[in-house]
Amino acid sequence: MAEITKLVHKYLRHDKKFPHVWCPGCGNGIVLGAMIRAIDRLGYSKDEIVMVSGIGCSGRLPVYVDFNTLHTTHGRALTFATGVKLAKPELKVIVVMGDGDATAIGGNHFIHAARRNINITAIIINNNIYGMTGGQYSPTTPYGMKATTAPYRHIEHAFNIAELAVTAGAVFVGRGTVYHARLLDRLIEKALLKRGFGVVEIITHCHTQYGRRNRMGDAVAMMNWQKEHAVRIERAADMSEEELKDKFTIGVLVDRDLPIYTEQYNLVRKQAQEQASRQ
């Protein structure tokens, strides 16, 4: 434990005024820890990492860590990140988004970033709710649940973020939870190593805004829920539809290779320059 704390401190911004904005027990800290461990293990320098976020509780994550950090507008993190990456492809660009951030207001940018296969790692912290604004329903709030804007019950159907990413063309898609900490570390590591658009959807709890309203208990109870409802994707293959009914899969959903945008654009540059020199 002490070792882990020490490691995190190596990356925290000590001139930043603490405490942080998150509720005690929030899963966002676990995500930040997992990201730091993965970055540290892979040996990236602080200078080469650009951590970009949108707006939400999740969006506050980069401010605490000593990288190049960019806290953008709600839903638009991937667009800013695209500019950073194209202007300086040697930088390692990591984007952190909330479920509302990435799939409501930013849904269009999300599918297009995946389709382009821009070399960016997208971490989506899915707590099934708009945490920061006080518990309104998000595109991943399950049918039948309650939110401040669904005081009776929610009548829309939830996005499956990881599968959306697969369909949109992401070359690496993983799903983990904040309960399964080791798997999470590995998924983030794999996504960072992947060349192309890599996505990790992280199922987490917002006990303050979502759990309380839906009688799901405190942070610990909600993490237990994650433990009981997550199924390793390898095991899910052998399970019946009935057994999988109220479960979700965790692990690597997709790992494939497609041409990468920045490399393709380099070829375009070469072609353009050759044509120009012939004229």
């Binding site: 001139d15 930043k16 990288f67 190049n68 638009r76 667009t79 800013f80 300086k88 940018h109 297009h112």
Partner: protein
């Protein structure tokens, strides 16, 4: 900035001249979304930027376009986008981000008739107030308006220079007439063009305080990846870039981002005088209307009428001192515009009863002709 050309004359469209100006100023990144009458800027840059090692990308919408432009600028590229009314509306939120995070970038808005989808292929000047106040909250902004093809080149260079020097978004308000008029122009050689780059930090990274006040009010700008790690946010922030709710940090920040522009009015506020010295009738115009006005003034002078034109190149910060100085001794001021009266409101605001301010507005999708202005002058 005066530009003398020794190159061969070329037949160019306003939009093409914007591209030439951008490349001359060192633009290496463009992100945009197609829209009439601005699309040529995208199309030509898609062809030209990779030739010079730059990057073009067509994004999924205008919100994404300005997002990418800001990101690229933070990574060190001089960046631009181009759009028209509907797209400009979509850019407003990220425009405010660029103001608050002090990210240099150039946004070209080739104005067409509005509101809404409006008149896609007709000229207009209906976006002046949106350029000034479109994004929410108090913010400083620089808005420039070219009136000809040559202007389009020169003022695009100027737009990049201002954006870099003052770490601010600069809006280039072109209009459909300027954008699509073809003229023979002689562009200057690269060594004849003055190009400014943002000031970068030179102190050791551990001493760098990213949003510290300076005598110019513009802090040196670290670039992602060059060792000056810092936090960039759209939240109001302290001098280190971290979000703050402290009144004693909010106030100085807001004051500084306004002061960095107001303290340099003399540099930023560009106007052109045509025979205003002894003018009894002063026409104040910008964009394509300024050209019609110039013709009308020349024709009136031939008839012995003391008319003059004050062309506003900088619309914002509104060149109050130049306007007041020019209209003070006039009998009447005319502000012709292709809108219901936007810059005329500013002229009236600074006039304070010195003279009479009249308007001439055209909102039927047509341009204001020299004849229209001439007839008005004659009647006076």
């Amino acid at each position: 900035m005066t530009i003398k050309g020794k190159k061969k004359p070329r037949l160019l469209q306003g939009n093409e001249a914007v591209v030439e100006g951008a490349l001359a100023a060192g633009c290496s990144f463009f992100a945009g979304y197609p829209i009439t009458p601005a699309s040529e800027i995208s199309e030509i840059l898609a062809y030209r930027l990779p030739q010079v090692g730059g990057t073009f990308i067509q994004m999924e919408d205008e919100i994404a376009s300005l997002g990418a432009v800001i990101g690229a600028s933070l990574a060190g590229a001089k960046s631009m986008t181009a759009t028209s009314g509907p797209g400009f509306s979509l850019m407003q939120e990220n425009l405010g981000f660029a103001c608050v995070a002090e990210v240099p970038c150039v946004i070209v808005n080739v104005m067409r008739g509005g509101p809404s989808t409006g008149l896609p292929t007709n000229p207009s000047q209906g976006d002046v107030m949106q350029a000034r106040w479109g994004t929410h909250g108090d913010h400083p902004i620089i808005v420039l308006a070219p009136s000809s093809v040559h202007d389009s080149f020169e003022i695009t260079v100027q737009a990049f220079n201002f954006s870099e020097r003052y770490r601010t978004p600069v809006i280039l308000l072109s209009d459909e007439v300027v954008a699509h008029t073809r003229e023979t122009v002689t562009l200057p050689e690269p060594d004849e063009i003055e190009v400014w780059d943002r000031i970068r930090p030179s102190m050791p990274p551990e001493w760098y305080i990213p949003y510290e006040d300076t005598s110019r009010g513009v802090p040196p700008m670290g670039i992602f990846g060059d060792g000056y790690r810092y936090h960039v946010t759209g939240l109001i922030h302290d001098v280190r870039g971290f979000p703050t709710a402290r009144a004693d940090e909010i106030e100085p920040f807001m004051q500084r981002i306004h002061r960095k522009i107001s303290q340099h009015f003399h540099d930023i506020q560009i106007v052109k005088h045509y025979m205003t010295n002894d003018a009894e009738i002063v026409v104040i115009a910008y964009g394509s209307v300024a050209r019609s006005a110039r013709r009308a003034v020349l024709d009136a002078r031939e008839k012995g009428i003391k008319a003059g034109l004050l062309q506003l190149v900088t619309l914002y910060p509104f060149p109050r001192r130049e306007v007041v100085g020019t209209i003070r001794n006039s009998r009447v001021v005319l502000v012709p515009e292709m809108n219901m009266g936007q810059i005329s409101r500013e002229v009236k605001r600074v006039n304070e009863g010195m003279t009479r301010v009249a308007t001439l507005n055209r909102i039927d999708g047509g341009m204001i002709t020299p004849q229209q202005i001439y007839e008005w002058i004659i009647k006076e």
